[in-house]
Assembly symmetry: C2
Homo-oligomer: 349 residues x 2
């Protein structure tokens, strides 16, 4: 099992001196960024993840005196617990003393991080577009293959086109890099010994919802939708690009703190985490939360570990019992994960 803890929208500022938003009247006194830190420690201890992914708005730049210090404090629990972690930018990380580029440069220089600045030798929009490969079990034939691929993308902050209002989006250059990376990983997985029949599944992490997050009605998803989907005002096609690539089984975002649902569209699960940070808007009485993804490997009859069998998810609430809610299977090998070959497609068309 490989477990990823997603931490969305910490909105960290100056620590103890930074108050909480949207908590119950009796919780206001003494509530600060340190509550965010305390929850993060609790959920890390409870879940013991293999990787922590911070999906943006890690700090709330506008309220932070020193962006680098805020980021250090925000990420500290992962480092202290000696976990490996990765981060992408949200739309608020760059509002303090560091530019968007500066924040990402700071992140990639921090301890234990697997974050990267951007792919080398590629002209690409944004800061913090990279992928991670999760190897098979050591000592097995898949030890040197990536059985699970993780993509991290910078979904921007605001639109950079003056006559388009609203939030940023994942640009064509980023999508072209993603597509090429995905196809290359799929080719290696299938063609290099030991050859695999199907590509390895993948997960994508970024901050701002795609317009397709608006495709669901309450009966279509698990979790809640308590606010509108704050996607950009135009569709830049990343959902289509993921569908085309075929390996991404689920995309995980933040941005809308009081939405925490997962809904499935055209074979891809679109999942919110729900906000974790106390210095971020929320809903008083509705617990701050984090999303866990657990990836199970297949085991042959003879006991050999194989590729990924299933991907599950649940959320942990910052209540007295760290309650687990909304456990569900996001993907099972064989159920909908099969990629048809070109020949099969042509036959069926």
């Amino acid at each position: 099992t490989f477990k990823v803890l997603q931490v969305a929208d910490m909105h960290y500022a100056d620590g103890r001196s930074t108050g909480c938003e949207d908590v119950l009247p009796e919780q206001v006194a003494g509530c600060s960024d340190l509550n965010t830190t305390a929850f993060l420690y609790r959920v890390i201890r409870a879940e013991d993840p293999d990787l922590v992914v911070f999906t943006g708005d890690n700090i709330f730049g506008a309220d932070s005196t020193d962006a680098a210090k805020s980021m250090d404090a925000a990420i500290a629990p992962a480092i202290t617990m000696n976990l490996r972690w990765a981060a992408v930018l949200g739309n608020h990380d760059q509002e303090g003393t560091l530019s968007r580029e500066g924040v990402m440069r700071h992140l990639v220089g921090m301890k234990n991080t697997l974050s990267r600045f951007n792919p080398e030798g590629v002209e690409i929009d944004g800061f913090g577009n990279y992928n991670l490969e999760v190897g098979g079990v050591e000592g097995t034939l898949l030890a040197n293959k990536s059985v699970l691929n993780l993509y991290f993308l910078d979904s921007g902050d605001r639109s950079t086109v003056w006559w388009i209002p609203g939030y940023g989006w994942i640009k064509a250059s980023q999508q072209a890099w993603f597509k090429q990376t995905s196809l290359s990983l799929q080719k290696n997985y299938r063609n290099e010994e030991p050859r695999q029949k199907e590509p390895a599944p993948a997960l994508a992490y970024f901050h701002i919802p795609l317009p397709e997050f608006s495709s669901f009605t309450a009966s279509d998803f698990t979790g809640v939708k308590q606010e509108s989907i704050s996607s950009p005002s135009i569709n830049s096609g990343f959902f289509t690009t993921m569908v085309e690539a075929g390996d991404v089984k689920a995309a995980f975002i933040g941005h809308d703190h009081i939405n925490d649902f997962c809904g499935k569209l055209t074979g891809i699960q679109l999942c919110y985490a729900g906000g974790l940070g106390y210095h971020a808007y929320g809903k008083a009485g509705w617990s701050r939360r984090a999303r866990v993804v657990s990836v199970q490997l297949e085991k042959t009859v003879s006991g050999e570990w194989q590729g990924v069998k299933s991907i599950k998810t649940w959320k942990r609430l910052d209540d007295q019992h760290l309650t687990t809610i909304d456990s569900e299977v996001l993907w099972n090998r064989g159920s909908n994960g099969r990629i048809m070959t070109e020949a099969e497609f042509r036959l069926g068309d």
Copy 2:
């Protein structure tokens, strides 16, 4: 003035032996591909364009005995009249004796063509993605600058993702190439002597409508919408990429033969041509047609020719008088063509 004649959906097959679709009862006898040819000659003589653009479904492969011969016959009027021409693929061109790649290779080898196979040194989806630069008036300072840019893209045939039904789309790799090309052209136009304040306007030509063509109601456009918009079932974001790039003022397509409107969305005119071919579905009594785009240059008080001032369009009908209809201005310099600088944008945000 620089004039482009757009020829959409000729659906050419075997010439005289290939009959007409959807003509009036009295027109059926003797009607064939040669009527398509005759109309093309008429409209070329009437308009004397500087460039003819064939926007796909140039031939109807399934009914063609020899795809290369059909293509030669279809394009012949442009060559005979000694015009320069460019072509993109539709969704039917490859249904005959040549593959999609084969059709495009044939097109780029034909006489007088400015078509190109694909950009060099770039991995790109599809066949026939290229751009053309239209230089300023000879003897003026702009003689060596491209005052008008034309983009040609392969919008595919059918979806290549088995669980997505319907038509193809412009992929991330094509969009990344388009975006880079556009930014590079804009940079040259603004930074190289004689420096220009605003980027040169651009036009895009491809076959299949973007989902954004469905954004209009009858009061929003000029022309008619007599059938539904046959765009792909998902949005691959090319409209957004064009908006981001900022130079494209109008996109011209075919595919839906009995739609011929232009509507403006977020600063970009989205225009159908209306079908030209007689061996293509149409509407009996509703004339086959072609779209003309006329680009005017600015002239200083001292009589020096400058960059593009305005872009106009109209359609020519294959009736007795080659009637001109739906004349309109697509773009005027200064009206909506101005690109704000990053600094201006930030100020206003």
